[in-house]
């Protein structure tokens, strides 16, 4: 469980190396009601028809993975992820080696919040999705 007084600017979250399978991608799309709406997340042929290299992760799924990096860092504790902002720069593909990075960039002792940079990188070190998060610790 992460404690506020132990957090320092420059602390790292992860890096977390993972590969999302196509089935995971379809499962996520289905749980969030995308399944029947947009084939680009579930159907290889439909995605290619849209000019994509194949199935891509829903933006929300990337947001979910970035949020998970932060909530894993918090652990089983009282601190809470209170804000997450994401920018989808390049489509994220399943079956690729992804690395998720996070860095503590700012600490505000007055409201006991911590600012964190997060991003998803591919094998070429291209940042596909970038974001920032705010974590609030109990007063």
């Amino acid at each position: 469980m992460k404690k506020f007084d132990e957090v320092k600017i420059g602390d790292t979250l992860g890096p977390l190396e993972l590969t999302v399978t196509k089935d995971q991608c379809r499962a996520y799309a289905k749980t969030s009601g995308f399944g029947d709406v947009a084939g680009r997340f579930t159907d290889e042929a439909a995605a290619k028809k849209e000019g994509l290299p194949g199935i891509i992760l829903p933006g929300n799924m990337s947001l979910g993975l970035l949020s998970k990096l932060v909530t894993d860092w918090i652990g089983f504790g009282g601190a809470r992820l209170t804000r997450m902002g994401t920018t989808y720069r390049v489509p994220v593909q399943p079956d690729h080696a992804l690395t998720i990075h996070g860095f503590v960039t700012n600490i505000n002792p007055d409201d006991r919040t911590v600012e964190i940079d997060v991003w998803i990188e591919n094998e070429e070190a291209e940042r596909l999705v970038t974001g920032t998060a705010t974590v609030e610790f109990p007063k």
Partner: protein, 227 residues
């Protein structure tokens, strides 16, 4: 004495960044060994804030903070250094369809300099525009290294630089605190303010420097279709 500046950065004043200037400076201090920059130039999108005063922060961290702007033209995005009242009166910085040649020539006439940025990037970089339109005149330098480049984009910039003999700058194009200072420009002269920067940019006596970490090779994953 040389001066190393990150010539392309976005703070929370840009609509797509949340990075406070103070957090940028703090990060540079923290990472000074890996990213030895003497200062940053804020190049906020489509705007120039005349009133912003970063002197207290400069003094607190001993890092220079200069102001420029990133505008959008028919040849892609361009950094405008030495922005003054004449330029602000002459151009609507928020216009995303500025005429590149006019901006380059008029900014030079008014005492500044324009540096096309991420020239190898699709649509918003020079390279692609040069394939369908005549090359621009009076370009002194282009951004050779951009911290946000995708694979191949900096290589296209290099191609343009060898072909047209442009000088090379570097900038992180950082929108996140932790990405500040990853690319920069090393000047052979001492620079202490925006006038000095504009003067030096016109000479071409500088090089782009890359502080991005050398990365271990990540093997491509093997696709498994289990459906």
């Amino acid at each position: 004495m040389t001066t190393t500046l990150d010539l392309h950065t976005h703070s929370e004043a840009s609509e797509d960044s949340r990075a406070p200037v103070e957090a940028y400076l703090n990060w540079i201090k923290l990472r000074h060994v890996e990213r030895p920059v003497d200062g940053i130039v804020l190049t906020e999108h489509r705007q120039f804030n005349r009133e912003a005063d970063y002197r207290p922060l400069e003094d607190k961290f001993g890092i220079m903070v200069l102001r420029a702007s990133e505008v959008e033209t028919n040849y892609g995005h361009m950094l405008v250094f030495g922005v003054n009242d004449d330029m602000l009166a002459r151009f609507d910085f928020a216009n995303i369809r500025l005429d590149a040649q006019t901006v380059i020539d008029e900014v030079a006439r008014m005492g500044g300099i324009v540096v096309p940025c991420h020239p190898g990037r699709p649509n918003i970089g020079l390279y692609e525009h040069y394939e369908s339109k005549p090359p621009l005149e009076h370009v002194v330098a282009v951004e050779a290294l951009n911290g946000g480049s995708r694979k191949g984009e900096d290589a296209r910039a290099d191609e343009l630089i060898s072909k047209f003999g442009y000088a090379s700058t570097g900038g992180s194009d950082s929108h996140l605190v932790s990405l500040i200072g990853l690319c920069a420009t090393r000047f052979s002269a001492y620079i202490k303010d925006i006038d000095g920067l504009v003067r030096e940019l016109k000479t071409g006596a500088y090089e782009a420097v890359d502080f991005r970490p050398r990365r271990k090779v990540v093997p491509h994953a093997v696709a498994v279709e289990t459906r």
